[in-house]
Subunit: 298 residues, 2 copies
């Protein structure tokens, strides 16, 4: 695996591959790689002849009181892991390469509607920072496709919106979430969890599964509401979510807010693969609730 | 010349050229083409194997009281003119192709510092709209190089800033301004001039030439100030500019404001080719005042 820290070296490598007729897949990361990232590399490999990963902890997507300085950085083990996984090239740009005039003078981007809700409401500017760095990385790598995990679901939707709305010549491929054995989504930030926070965090996934079941129509509804309640335990978060779920339909509300203000309802929606019509079908015990296959896990 | 109205058709054409090993030059326009535009095509041809022009009157760069609706649209004669000039392909996208979710829901861009001064101070949002459409066109055409006229000098600097700061893989080539025989820069909007406005407009160029001479140091200064004053006539605009020029150095002031807030002065400047050190040299009668060749005309 080649590791490049300059744009010129990266582009020379990619030009060589293009001359050979190879397609290029891209996996942007912030490093501190775990099995979830490695699965993204595998997925890119299935769709492209060559795979480029990047590691860049992007300052413009961190708020002033967030964890930019202490975000875990483990370049040596990241490089070894990527090489073992068969990644073809790693791009490790310094901040000056990504923001040549400084972060305060960078071209700012704003993806409307979708960046200010949900997680974005608690992290002002975060998703715009994500869009800014991904647009730059797309320009630098010029891949045919890029893989983004569904774990950061809102981020995935922001990237899809930007890529489609701005006609970036890059196909966005969503990847399933990898989870720990107790259901917690794999994340570099899980290591911040202290004491019983790690145990409490597992209730997020359990409660989402419960809400999924509770929000489904039909006679199975009541039965599963009871089951889910017992499974998820009695924490305050869970009780709050339970009450919302009981009122229903939360998912539909979120989906409505997801549509950016000013979008013509007749225009194609921003997230076509996730907007397939809901399929009413009997409940099953499937480990995730995807009614439409790979594109519906969140 | 092929004319494409869909992105798919345009990309198919360009893929074909790429397979043949051809480089691609790009000339974005708003149509109503005149000799100035045709010169941009010629310049693109000198640098690239194939030339794509686009015609798109971009709504997001017009203010609410500006001339979007009445901007002159002459597609038939434009197409004939481009074909005669040897342009290889024309991209004529409808608004829905450029802004698939509507202009109110488009990803917004802000190029800091340079967009809010000079012309930008009088046209809020104009240059951000220019950046938005040029970024989309770069993503659609994926050219090796793009030609922009120096006539819209601030626009050229905005595009250069964006292309470099965001690492767009596109070389920006500036083209000299073409002028009418009386010195007025060629522009589609010249046809808006009524009555004696057309005659008055010629004083802009005359006065700029005068200011150039007046701002130069040395004994020639006084002599040329007098000459310029007579040449440019006695209008209010000219007197105001004269007073500014006499106080000097206007150009240096503008150049200082040109640097975006927050830019590290040690960092590479946003407009390297135009920031070459001033050459002090005797005055000449050259038709333009470029001390450093092609990159210094404005």
């Amino acid at each position: 695996m080649q590791t490049h820290t300059t744009l010129a070296a990266l582009r020379a490598q990619i030009r060589q591959w293009r001359r050979e007729g190879a397609s290029v897949g891209f996996v942007p990361t912030m490093g501190n790689l775990h099995a979830g990232h490695h699965a993204l590399i595998d997925l890119a490999r299935r769709h492209a002849d060559r795979v480029v990963a990047s590691i860049f902890v992007n300052p413009t997507q961190f708020g002033p009181n967030e964890d930019y300085a202490r975000y875990p950085r483990t370049p040596d083990s990241d490089i070894n892991g990527l090489a073992e996984r068969g990644c073809d090239a790693l791009f490790l740009p310094p901040v000056e390469q990504m923001y040549p005039y400084g972060t305060m003078a960078c071209v700012q981007m704003h993806v409307p509607g979708i960046t200010d809700i949900l997680d974005g409401a608690f992290r002002p500017g975060h998703f715009n920072g994500v869009a800014q760095v991904v647009a730059r990385l797309f320009n630098m790598v010029q891949p045919d496709l890029a893989v983004f995990g569904r774990k950061d679901y809102q981020q995935l939707q922001v990237i899809r919106y930007m890529a489609r709305e701005m006609s970036f010549p890059v196909e966005i491929i969503p990847a399933p979430t990898l989870r720990e054995s107790d259901g917690l989504a794999m994340s570099s930030r899980n290591q911040y969890l202290q004491g019983d926070e790690r145990q409490t965090a597992t209730r997020i996934h359990q409660t989402l599964l419960f809400m999924r079941d509770a929000a489904r129509p039909g006679p199975a509804d009541r039965r599963h509401r009871g089951r889910g309640h017992r499974t998820a335990g009695g924490g305050g978060l869970q009780r709050g979510l339970h009450r919302s779920a009981a009122r229903r339909p939360v998912a539909a509300k979120v989906a409505r807010r997801d549509r950016p203000a000013g979008v013509d309802r007749r225009a194609p929606g921003p997230h076509p693969p996730d907007r397939q019509p809901r399929v009413r079908r009997p409940l099953t015990r499937a480990p995730d609730f995807a009614p439409n296959g790979k594109d519906s896990e969140c």
